[in-house]
């Protein structure tokens, strides 16, 4: 008839702990409020952090993958340092030389300037970008309607333009712009394509407010220069970005005849590096928020300890009775440990609900899309369970050490 206590008894303990806690609903709820808020804020903040880092990733990816940007150098005249892009050091010949490097997949020169664009009675000031025919590939920016200009059109410096969505809307309204003639700097251009919508970049600029024309046309007919503002290069793979960076640097130093002891007259910027820097700052921010949340979890644990101590004192008589009828120290210890573990686990589960609620509220009412993954949920549940056991241990230990005679006498 007699059998050894197995897992069955554990469920009995759980059930009894659950019943005990339910008898004092408000107190139990207030006890675990700290844990609820702690776990909730851990999940919400990590959700926000992951959402933000994903947003940064998407925004940087949208500029082009494995991308390097080469900018002309700054000048240093009479102790005054100017910014990037002032010196006319990059030419189309540099672009053609870079194109031959093995690590480079494709590239485009870019020469941009702000100009007034006119179509019939409408005019709009927008960014005119001179670019190569490879522009849609390098910038990951295909046309939505019509076509991009061809290498032949670039070679012949044709008067053709591809228009961004914002610029198109401002000039043409609902009219299809393709085939119409626009005037830029007194030069007529035929619109041959409409770029797809790209949206705002990481710095809040509307990337769709643009007109793209062949770089050759831009140099000869609009800007009247022989140098370019930037060269965008797409490396073959992400690893190749580093290789390309050093190859381009070596090549340009050679082409520009820069002695060993002189600095570069150009800059090579690696967008992957920028992305990584942005990501790591987002991660730092997440860690900061999560550690603040972890502190509130700790405070919640102290709340549990406090109430468990009160509970042990209140139930001294019960402990005495249980000891009198044969409960061992370990039985009493287990009873109170299970109680505090159940309490904090409940807090953890409710906290997950709260965290989800906050995350989805932020997603619904702000542009930031939060991302809640399984990881923080598992971690916070385990952590809250540990908090319950850790902070429940002292009260439970105190209960188990009671003297049965004195405990029975307690009223």
């Amino acid at each position: 008839m007699k059998r050894k206590r197995v897992k069955f008894a554990f469920f009995l303990d759980l059930e009894s702990a659950y019943k005990t806690l339910l008898r004092n609903k408000i107190r139990s709820f207030l006890t675990i409020l700290g844990i609820i808020i702690g776990v909730g804020s851990v999940i919400a903040t990590i959700g926000i952090g992951q959402g933000a880092s994903k947003a940064i990733q998407v925004s940087i990816n949208s500029m082009g993958s494995n991308m390097l940007i080469i900018l002309p150098g700054s000048s240093s005249l009479g102790g005054i340092n100017s910014g990037f892009g002032v010196l006319p050091t990059l030419t189309l010949n540099d672009v053609y030389a870079i194109r031959k490097l093995p690590s480079v997949k494709t590239d485009t020169a870019i020469l941009g300037m702000s100009q007034q664009v006119i179509w019939r009675g409408n005019n709009w000031s927008t960014l005119i970008n001179g670019a190569d025919s490879t522009f849609p590939i390098v910038r990951k920016w295909p046309v939505a309607k019509g076509a991009f200009f061809t290498p032949q059109q670039v070679a012949s410096a044709a008067n053709v333009a591809v228009i961004g969505n914002t610029a198109a809307t401002e000039l043409f309204g609902l009219i299809n712009p393709i085939g119409h003639i626009i005037i830029i700097h007194s030069v007529p251009f035929t619109v041959i394509g409409l770029l797809s919508i790209k949206g705002f970049n990481a710095f809040g600029q509307d990337q769709d407010d643009i007109v793209v024309i062949p770089i050759t046309t831009m140099m000869e007919k609009i800007a009247g220069t022989t140098w370019v503002h930037a060269i965008a290069v797409s490396a073959k793979t992400q690893k190749d970005t580093v290789v390309a960076q050093s190859q381009i640097t070596r090549l340009l130093r050679q082409r520009h005849h820069i002695p060993l002891n002189k600095p570069n007259d150009f800059f090579v910027r690696n967008l992957t590096e920028i992305a990584q820097a942005a990501n790591s700052s987002a991660a730092t921010f997440t860690i900061l928020l999560a550690s603040i949340a972890a502190v509130s979890l700790l405070v919640g644990g102290i709340g549990i300890m406090n109430i468990m101590l009160v509970s042990v004192t209140e139930r001294t008589k019960e402990i005495g009775i249980r000891m009198a009828i044969g409960a061992k120290k370990s039985d009493i210890l287990k009873q109170f440990l299970i109680e505090s573990a159940v309490l904090s686990l409940f807090g953890g589960l409710l906290g997950i609900g709260l965290g989800f609620g906050i995350s989805s509220a932020i997603s619904a009412f702000s542009p930031l899309k939060t991302v809640v993954t399984a990881e923080p949920i598992i971690i916070s549940v385990v952590f809250s369970l540990c908090v319950g056991i850790f902070f429940g241990f002292y009260p439970a230990f105190k209960a188990s050490r009671m003297n049965p005679v004195e405990a029975l006498r307690y009223e």
Binding site: R3, I325, G326
Partner: protein, 240 residues
Amino acid sequence: MTNSYDINGDIPLIRLENIGMVYKIGDIAYEVLKGINLIIENGEFVSIMGASGSGKSTLMNILGCLDKPTSGSYFLEGRDVSGLTPDELAEIRNKKIGFVFQGFNLIQRLSILENVMLPLYYSGYHSKDSEEMALKALKLVDLSDKGNKFPNQISGGEQQRVAIARAIVNDAPIIMADEPTGNLDSVRGADVMNFFEKINSERGATIILVTHDKHVADYAKRLITVKDGIILSSETVKKI
């Protein structure tokens, strides 16, 4: 050591040898028990009488393995239990001793049935078996229909009968009762005492009753009087 659980005629159920108990409060030592020698045989119905402060409660705590004496030896079924650890004493209380207290001492949060099942839970019974045993014990005190009630839903007399059921559920050879009728009127008190008599005569359990009430003490077959920490007298009232 003798085989502790082998009961035979030569070994008395309980043998106290020169038991002393000294409490220290600050620098002052209070000698509550001064060399108690006592033998209780299996199946006896003993009452321990004495005024408050006589040491009878301390004696009961030692007999019930709730407390350890500061000197002397306590042999329970031939086994010296005066030097055991708290957990070993807990096991002895669980298997060998059932308690009935003046204040009933039921756990309010648990149902009547669960209260009676509790000692079985601590001795490791499967819950199905222990429910059966608890129902049997409740039947013995005529409370089979109250199993699902809670202590605050039944009368004091009924609560004390639940406590009796809890004391006997594990088939403990010793039932210790500390002023079991102290909180009851005389009719309910007599009712409870009849159950003790029944348990003693029908189940052969040894009953040790601690009281200051002569009427209650008279239910016992042997009357032990304690005064100032020593046994004043031990007289057999009724022939076994």
